[in-house]
């Protein structure tokens, strides 16, 4: 992603949608920086993806596994 415009209202970024590049307004995500993943809806970035939170579902699955192993372990 590259970022253009300094005014809060016109700040925009060129976003890589899996190989297709399209511009989106970054007016509502002032914290977004190059390299971030953003959620874009109708040309408007709504949220910066939190990478640590993104891993939680996989951690959750791993915990489920560990619990299952504990249950299956002989006494």
């Amino acid at each position: 992603m590259s970022i253009s415009g300094n005014e809060p209202l016109t700040r925009a970024g060129k976003i890589d949608f899996g190989g297709i590049f399209k511009e989106a307004s970054l007016a509502c995500v002032p914290e977004a920086k190059i390299g971030d993943y953003v959620i874009v809806h109708v040309g408007f970035a709504l949220s910066v993806v939190d990478e640590a939170e993104a891993l939680k579902v996989f951690e959750y699955l791993k915990q489920m596994d560990d619990l299952a192993e504990l249950k299956e372990a002989p006494p």
Partner: protein, 360 residues
């Protein structure tokens, strides 16, 4: 693509499904609110992975589908004017009004154009100063910041030839309307992730509390939806009714404050009729007084030629989750995406379109 593919892992999905089977001992009915989730559920067969005891019903999660007929008729009237370039999201073009649709207006010479973003409509207004550019502003809270920004930009640029036909809707009042209905069987909700990315989820706390329903903010990929279901069922099995956040990678409790400020500045909360559901108090957004000059309804003085719904279309019941699309006698026979009787067969978020595409 990162943050997408890994959430479609079939093995991990089976894993979550097994856990849901393990903990489910009673029958439960859940509703997903967002049409994006409806499509993912039907496309990936997520409902078929769940225990028989769990029923997923599809909510009114498609803003195009709930846009009232009267407003579509107004859009058709404006779009047919020779001085107008009428811009809309693609989903809206084939939605039937009382007598015709936008695509037919275009075929008859109307200048109707599909745009990707409301901001593109503002650019079009700058490029075509001699024409009136009208944007059809429909959508949930997810779309409202972008439409609000289009109005702010048009005001800043002092554009005299830009206006908007606004039919924005708000999700929480519709959930309350469903929950207050005596026919409501919903025991838990998967709340729409991207609506909450904008609005946060604090406004769901009183709803969960008042109606004793767990509400889990949920994403759109198979693992998201399965985890959302698991979190909801876990609460139901324990007799709890709390708000949870499965989609924490995109949703913060307080939502996106700058986006909320934009919405508050440009719009005011108004009563809104939902197609197939009826009028719901405080469930819509209309332009605030300060921006009334951009109101296309006032600019063109349109009233619409309201005729009425197709007698055969059951979309009202589908939108309220009371029947599944296949239970409608016209489904895939007299109602198809090419020749729809109702909006849910057209929109990419409509439940009938999802069943037509994946479950015929």
């Amino acid at each position: 693509m990162k943050f997408l593919d890994e959430y479609r892992d079939a093995q991990l999905a089976q894993h979550l499904a097994r856990e849901i089977h393990r903990i489910t001992t009673k029958p439960w009915t859940l509703m997903e609110i967002c049409g994006g989730q409806t499509h993912a559920i039907v496309k990936f067969g997520i409902d078929e992975l769940l225990p028989e005891k769990i029923t997923l019903i599809h909510g009114p999660g498609c803003p195009v589908c709930v846009t009232p007929l009267e407003i579509i008729d107004q859009a058709l009237e404006i779009a047919a004017r020779p001085d107008v370039i009428f811009t809309s999201f693609g989903d809206m073009l084939r939605v039937p009004g009382s007598t015709t649709d936008l695509l037919s207006v275009k075929a008859n010479g109307g200048d109707v154009r599909m745009v990707y973003s409301p901001l593109d409509a503002v650019k079009l207004a700058e490029q075509n100063p001699a024409r009136e550019i009208v944007f059809f502003g429909v959508g949930f809270e997810t779309t409202a910041p972008a439409t609000a920004m289009a109005i702010v930009q048009a005001a800043q640029k002092k554009l005299k030839n830009f206006s908007m036909l606004v039919s924005h809707v708000l999700v929480p009042p519709a959930m309350e309307a469903l929950l207050s209905s005596p026919n409501c069987h919903v025991q838990g909700f998967l709340a729409a992730g991207h609506v909450c990315a904008v609005m946060g989820f604090e406004e769901y706390l009183p709803i969960a509390n008042k109606y004793r329903v767990p509400i889990i903010v949920t994403g759109f990929e198979p693992l998201d939806i399965l985890q959302g279901v698991l979190m909801t069922i876990r609460q139901l099995q324990m007799g709890r009714a709390e708000v949870g956040n499965q989609y924490s990678r995109a949703v913060r409790r307080e939502g996106n404050r700058p986006a909320q400020e934009l919405i508050k500045r440009v719009f005011q909360v108004v009563p809104r009729k939902w197609r197939g559901v009826g009028e719901i108090a405080r469930s819509g957004l209309g332009l605030a007084e300060e921006f009334a000059v951009f109101d296309a309804e006032k600019r063109f003085g349109v009233t619409g030629h309201y005729v009425g719904e197709s007698a055969e279309c059951r979309s009202g019941l589908v939108l309220q989750g009371q029947i599944k699309p296949r239970e409608c006698p016209a489904f895939a026979i007299r109602c198809t995406p090419e020749h729809p009787l109702g909006a849910p067969m057209v929109s990419s978020e409509g439940a009938c379109a999802a069943y037509y595409r994946y479950r015929r």
